[in-house]
């Protein structure tokens, strides 16, 4: 769409650059704390009680064609939001057709039997409705998100149904998409964060699709309209999809409207998705990307992490929170508040049906790269060697459980939690029991998880910046390897 430069607002705290939505989803900016460099004066009237809340359970229905519907009814404002989750994202791409899920999703709105691309855009806009579809090359799902005014729900659903069921993937639109995509990629590849993330994922995942933020350009270039139609026919089926909805509508009305709009959508055989093999790196490696003109070094340090259903999940949530979950975490307090090396330092982890990654992330001015690396490594080592103190641990848990209250103020957070529960097949009381799982984490668990996933001999180091100035500094942390796409 109108991807473009963002207008800038200056803020006190940086939203982590790799905001990849750890659960529980909470609205707003960053989160956490640490006790290391904080000066507590003991005067602030803190309510010691954590407000325990219950997340709303959705109402459920199944359409005649097998489409499951989960609704969070909310009459506060006359709007609605819907999120169709189609199983099979980029992970369902045939290996010789990488990118087909992404391009199919991107082309859904570019023409149907009834409507041209332009008509779809204009009709939705006239209603004040939005519809977007996406599937990243490493995702297990394609997502279609729709929102608008509840008065216009019927009219919007008529267009959505047409787009979901009868896309024609016109060749001219596909050609236009390819050209648009290639030029946007040029812009993205001038951004240090994007370059660093591409390099980091490639270091962790090698040939596995987890390595891709965007599909390879040659793979996209080779895709045909037929490929998209075939993928669509196979994956976009009501019994392979579920719908999360929120807003100003009853389940009865919504179901009736959906039956009208989507009742004729035919079931299909649900395809099996076989996950590709994963062979993670076996030694510490260093990737240095020279970016002429850089005044900062963009650093990503991390390794292969866990699946979403891993038994280490809750320990990882707490560990990550303490290490670099936000403006009071160890990394932030040390690298920014104590040393003044950076505007932000954080850590993150991901995980889905295949193992995600763990990463510490910061951008520092070139001259302090050495000090920043030393402090980053010191913090990783400290987490593995020393048990987390009692109050630091208790406060981390308070923060993680306390955030649930805020999710009740954010339909997006509630829908995101619901999506996680449904995608991974967690029980209906998953979010109710979440606090208990967090409470059960011990200092030993954190140490174990830190030792296991941030082990120095499995770390991958990525530095984007002035290669000449930082090469010697980075070399001591691992074997220097050639960055992928280093022809540039």
């Amino acid at each position: 769409m109108t991807k473009n430069l963002k207008w800038i607002v200056y803020t006190a705290a940086l939203v982590p650059l790799l905001c990849l939505g750890q659960t529980p989803a909470a609205p707003g900016q960053a989160e956490p704390e640490s006790i290391s460099q904080v000066e507590l004066k003991g005067k602030v009237p803190v309510n010691p009680e954590t407000l325990r809340v219950k997340l709303p359970r959705p109402q459920e229905a199944v359409l005649s064609n097998g489409l499951r519907v989960y609704l969070l009814e909310d009459r506060k404002l006359p709007t609605f939001a819907m999120y169709f989750v189609v199983k099979g994202g980029g992970l369902a791409d045939p290996p010789d057709k990488r990118g087909v899920a992404m391009v199919t999703a991107s082309l859904l709105r570019e023409g149907t039997k009834e409507r041209t691309s332009r008509e779809i855009a204009e009709q939705l806009a006239t209603l004040g409705s939005s519809m977007s579809a996406s599937a990243s090359p490493s995702s297990g799902e394609s997502g279609i998100s729709v929102s608008g005014l509840s008065d216009n729900l019927d009219a919007t659903l008529a267009i959505v149904a047409d787009v979901l069921r009868h896309p024609t993937f016109p060749q001219t639109e596909l050609d236009k998409f390819k050209a648009r995509f290639a030029s946007q990629l040029q812009y993205q590849r001038s951004l240090p964060g994007f370059i660093a993330q591409e390099q980091f994922l490639s270091a962790i995942y090698g040939e596995h699709p987890g390595s891709l933020i965007v599909p390879p350009e040659d793979a996209i270039a080779a895709l045909t309209s037929k490929d998209l139609a075939a993928y669509h026919a196979r994956i976009y089926r009501p019994n392979n999809t579920f719908l999360l909805a929120h807003g100003d509508v009853s389940l009865k009305d919504l179901t009736a409207k959906l039956e009208r709009a989507l009742g004729g959508w035919e079931k299909g055989a649900i395809p099996d998705t076989k996950l590709p093999d994963l062979s993670p790196p076996t030694k510490a490696r260093v990737f240095i990307v020279d970016r002429p003109g850089s005044v900062q070094t963009s650093l990503r340090i991390g390794a292969l992490g866990i699946e979403r259903k891993s038994e280490d999940y809750f320990a990882m949530v707490v560990t990550n929170h303490i290490l670099g979950g936000g403006p009071a975490s160890r990394l932030f307090m040390n690298l920014r508040e104590d040393k003044g090396y950076t505007y932000g330092a954080s850590s993150t982890f991901t995980g889905s049906t295949f193992p995600g990654f763990v990463a510490a992330v910061t951008d520092v001015r070139t001259e302090v790269t050495e000090g920043a690396m030393r402090e980053l490594m010191k913090e990783l080592e400290r987490l593995a060697k020393e048990p987390v103190g009692k109050s630091e641990l208790e406060n981390a848990k308070r923060a993680l459980v306390g955030r649930f209250a805020l999710s009740l103020d954010s339909p997006q957070a509630l829908l995101s939690n619901l999506a996680t529960q449904k995608i991974y097949g967690f029980p209906d009381d998953y979010w109710d029991t979440y606090p208990q799982h967090i409470d059960a984490i011990t200092a030993k668990d954190i140490q174990r998880v830190a030792q296991k996933y941030y082990a120095p001999d499995r770390l991958q180091f990525v530095a984007v910046g002035d290669a000449g100035a930082v090469r010697e500094i980075l070399e001591q942390y691992g074997t220097v390897a050639s960055p992928s796409g280093s022809k540039e």
Binding site: V9, E33, E39, R180, G293, S294, S410
Partner: protein, 446 residues
Amino acid sequence: MPRTLAAFALLSLSLCCGSASAAPDRVEFTETTLKNGLRVQLAPDSTAPVIALHIAYDVGSKDERKGLTGFAHLFEHMMFKGSENVGDGEHFYQIFTSGGVMNGTTSPDMTNYYETLPANQLEMALFLEADRMRSLEITQEKLDNQRHAVQEERRLRIDNQPYGRSFERLGELLYDNFAYKHSTIGSMEDLNAASIEDVDEFFKTYYAPNNAVLSLVGDFEPDEAMRLIRKYFEPIPRQPEPPRVDLKEPQQTAERRETISDPLARLPHAFIVYKTVPGNTPDQYALEVLGSVLFGGDSSRLYQKLNKELELVAGIGGFVDERIGTGSLRISATMRPGREIKDMEAALYEEIERIQREPIAAWELEKAKNSTRYGYYSAIRGTQSRAMLLGAFTIKFNDPNLINTRMQKVEAVTAADVQRVARQYLRERNRTVLITMPAAAATAGL
């Protein structure tokens, strides 16, 4: 006693386009002014167990003097470094530990601080904000530390990003009045020059209760909240009225045009910007509709013509910048490889002339109004953004009830209004064009 605005608010409801739904779609609030001049706005809402506190100060980078650019923002960072009863870093710590979120932002017109917390932490939120309004602790060490953080922020957002410098240069080229001419992030030299005395003086001048607006939204009991607000904020002494900067911008008489080179950019880029009007004026609302027609989403004229049809740009977008003083309508276009800026400009100006010549289509007007309605509902849904809107409308336009009346101001715009503002403001002599070309360093590797 609180002066209620609810009665006034109800009056304007009759003007509103009735939605068929019974859902309430307005924000009820009360306003009280404390003895020390602090304006307090309360908007109780118990639908979620959350409170949002927002303190807006009537100071921004527009108030900075020459030699001290970037100071308002640097000062904002100092507000997190401790006060008499709150330690260095404790503000972050207590809020996040309680499951809350917070931040502070600085813009040309305003500086704001906000936190959203579970509702049982209301007293903590009020205590934290009051303590730093009353007794900020300023030391050389803290200043030096945050100077570094801000300089890193500048590197991260400007110096190390493609087109980063273009944002800054655009302001310098567009405005004559120093208030808006310089960037909010400021220059490295000025940041280095900021002294502890400057911090002290800035605090005394601008961080006074009579120069601030407190907005509290969410799940609280109004009498109890008011009692706590009085307890913590009322003892803070009033200060002399701060000086107000003159925002008057001279009429532009000829197009301004400049080309800069950027070693971090890979694709040519252009800002095409038209100076407009001060915010919250009738023309502003017509300009918002004009913006929706030109660059609102993928149904917009510029996307359809310049990106989709002619394939000149990799991205095109825009923004109607509303300020206390003179604002602008800004278009930002990133070129596709091998395409010429001059062809993009020609196509763009043709689209603008078309809007000046022929009225916009009925669907385009409907689109603008419906998307404004949807955007309005999204903006008032969350407690934090509701608090932010109340505070910002008060600081910028002295009218918190704009939260309820703005939608109608857009509803009132006609196709003729859009044509009129297009003719009046989108003229060559009112235009500033800043072109950024990739410098050799970055293109060599392609």
